[in-house]
């Protein structure tokens, strides 16, 4: 990271940094539309149909244009600087974490050897920006949403990190590029790809725990307590409007993609093609990687329209008395498996 940062010229850095940004923006436009379509289809509706012709594909663009034009309302009693700053900090945190995601076999924002650790560290700032937004709004719903979010994210960071650690125990490297490269090939039972999810039964358990935790980390149903619209209006976003609110939305979707891509990297072979050498190469690897990530995002949306929301105490119960012990036991078991085999 430092080598790159100090010796490449600034424009190259900017171009390099723009690639994940473009991916995030395009993804957010598609994902918001897709979320509404998935919601519609699951409820036997059609979802947005009118903007842009085929299945309302331009709906998110229209929404974005609308949001740009909206007034930027700041409540009188809000803490002005923090109120204005929080959405940008939230997006910055989730955007910065994309630096260590290996998007393709030949592209990674920053090939540092603390990869996953950096990602987890940077995303922990998200929590703080949510508390910041919740407190600065000077609104009870916002504050409650912010506090819930903080409690939730701090709690669920533990099982997330513990399950990431199980994979790290297997790979022995924090660098996500190395983690991905270790999953190349199709050797399991002769045809299955060497993905960690197939390598070891305990890693399957780890994936289940990891997936539940990232649902909570990215505030998705059934753990969307910070913005539960039926009780807290919109949680920490209540007072936001226009582009600042759009930044929150973007950050949420970026976070969702980030954690899904992390899951795809850790458990589903990252940019590796499921068919060995067939359809591999820089472009195809990007395709496979995004496909895996977006499938996980789809599962998140699918779960959103299936399950109801948990209560706060149930949320904490699931985390502290089920997921955390289970993930640590699982960590030990994976380590034992690695020692034995």
């Amino acid at each position: 990271m430092t080598q790159n940062l100090l010796h490449i010229n600034p424009i190259a850095i900017l171009v390099h940094a723009a690639i994940p940004l473009v991916i995030i923006l395009v993804y957010a436009l598609v994902a918001i539309w897709a979320e509404r379509k998935v919601a519609g289809f699951i409820q036997d509706r059609l979802g947005p149909m009118r903007v842009g012709g085929w299945h309302g594909w331009a709906q998110s663009i229209a929404d974005l244009l609308k949001l740009i034009q909206k007034e930027d309302i700041i409540p009188n009693d809000a803490s002005r600087f923090l109120f204005k700053f929080a959405p940008f900090m939230m997006f910055a945190a989730s955007y910065a974490a994309f630096a260590v995601i290996p998007f393709s076999s030949s592209y990674i924002g920053s090939n540092i050897n603390i990869g996953v650790f950096y990602l987890l560290a940077v995303t922990s700032v998200l929590t703080l920006s949510i508390i910041m937004a919740g407190w600065a709004s000077n609104n009870k719903w916002s504050l409650l949403g912010g506090m819930r979010s903080a409690a939730q994210m701090v709690s669920y960071e533990v099982p997330t990190i513990a399950t990431v650690l199980t994979v790290i125990v297997v790979t022995g490297s924090l660098n996500l590029m190395t983690v991905t490269e270790m999953q190349s090939g199709n050797d399991i039972l002769g045809f299955l790809p060497n993905w960690f999810i197939f390598q070891n039964p305990f890693l399957l358990v780890a994936f289940v725990i990891f997936f539940i935790s990232i649902l909570a980390e990215s505030h998705r149903v059934p753990f969307d307590l910070p913005e539960s619209e039926s009780e807290l209006v919109a949680g920490y976003q209540t007072e936001y409007s226009g582009m600042r609110w759009a930044m929150f939305m973007l950050a949420e979707y970026a976070d969702m993609l980030l954690l899904s891509l992390l899951g795809a990297t850790l458990f589903f072979g990252g940019w590796n093609s499921p068919f060995g050498d067939f359809m591999s190469g820089p472009f195809w690897s990007f395709f496979w990687f995004m496909l895996k990530g977006l499938l996980l995002v789809f599962v998140m949306m699918w779960i959103r329209w299936t399950l109801p929301r948990y209560r706060v105490d149930q949320l904490m119960h699931i985390c502290w008395s089920i997921l955390i012990p289970l993930s640590f036991i699982n960590l030990v078991l994976v380590a034992l498996w690695e020692v034995i085999f």
């Binding site: 519609g40 289809f41 699951i42 409820q43 036997d44 509706r45 059609l46 699918w302 779960i303 299936t306």
Partner: protein, 211 residues
């Protein structure tokens, strides 16, 4: 331990069953009707919007009387003897000018009760359900096809005729009174003249009763 595994199993099983249900609906057909582009087929007897075929209306007020919310307003003027208003398509002769036939669809409760009493089936529901208005007064539908000038003329004529009739009636009353006097005076004589007068009035009455 066994209990915990069991409950965990049940949890995941129920989650997967739920997800199975949702994914089936995901791929299933949608029930949405793309409204302005596609419209539902309205059933035959749908109660949507009242319409009056004014050519068939004989001005009998039956619908207005049937209306539970009094949203039908009818004013009639009897036709003078010099005009023939013709007959309805059901063959009933028309005897009244309909100077006003208004239905306030904002008040209407879509009960369909006005439709059935109509002797000529001229008031009925038409399958039109998109008639929202920005102004409530626009929801009062005027079905009378008489021009205001015409209305005035007709009214004037009718008044004149009514006045004439009144005069005639008074005349008649006077005659009757006179005849009654004559009767009294000539009680012994058989009242031959009287029968003529009576038959005349009778035939008038029977005509009125038919209409």
């Amino acid at each position: 331990m066994v209990e915990a595994i069991k409950s965990g199993w049940i949890t995941f099983k129920s989650i997967f069953i739920g997800m199975g249900v949702t994914i089936r609906h995901f791929f299933g057909p949608s029930v949405t009707l793309q409204y302005p582009d596609e419209r539902p087929v309205i059933p035959d007897k749908a109660r949507t919007k009242l319409y009056v075929n004014i050519d068939d209306c004989i001005g009998c007020h039956l619908c207005a009387r049937a209306c539970p919310v009094n949203c039908i307003y009818i004013d009639t003027v009897p036709a003078t003897s010099d005009v023939d208003l013709g007959k309805t398509s059901t063959g009933n002769p028309k005897r009244f000018w309909l100077t006003r036939f208004d239905i306030d669809m904002a008040k209407c409760m879509y009960c369909d009760l006005c439709v059935h009493p109509c002797p000529t089936n001229c008031i009925y529901m038409v399958p039109d359900y998109e008639y929202s208005e920005f102004d409530r007064t626009n929801l009062i539908y005027h079905f009378s096809n008489l021009e205001p000038a015409m209305v005035a003329e007709v009214k004037e004529k009718a008044e004149k005729e009514a006045a004439e009739k009144q005069k005639q009636r008074e005349e008649m009353m006077r005659k009757k009174a006179e005849e009654a006097k004559k009767k009294q005076m000539e009680a012994k004589k058989p009242p031959q003249q009287n029968t003529d007068g009576e038959t005349g009035t009778k035939s008038d009455k029977s005509d009125n009763g038919d209409s």
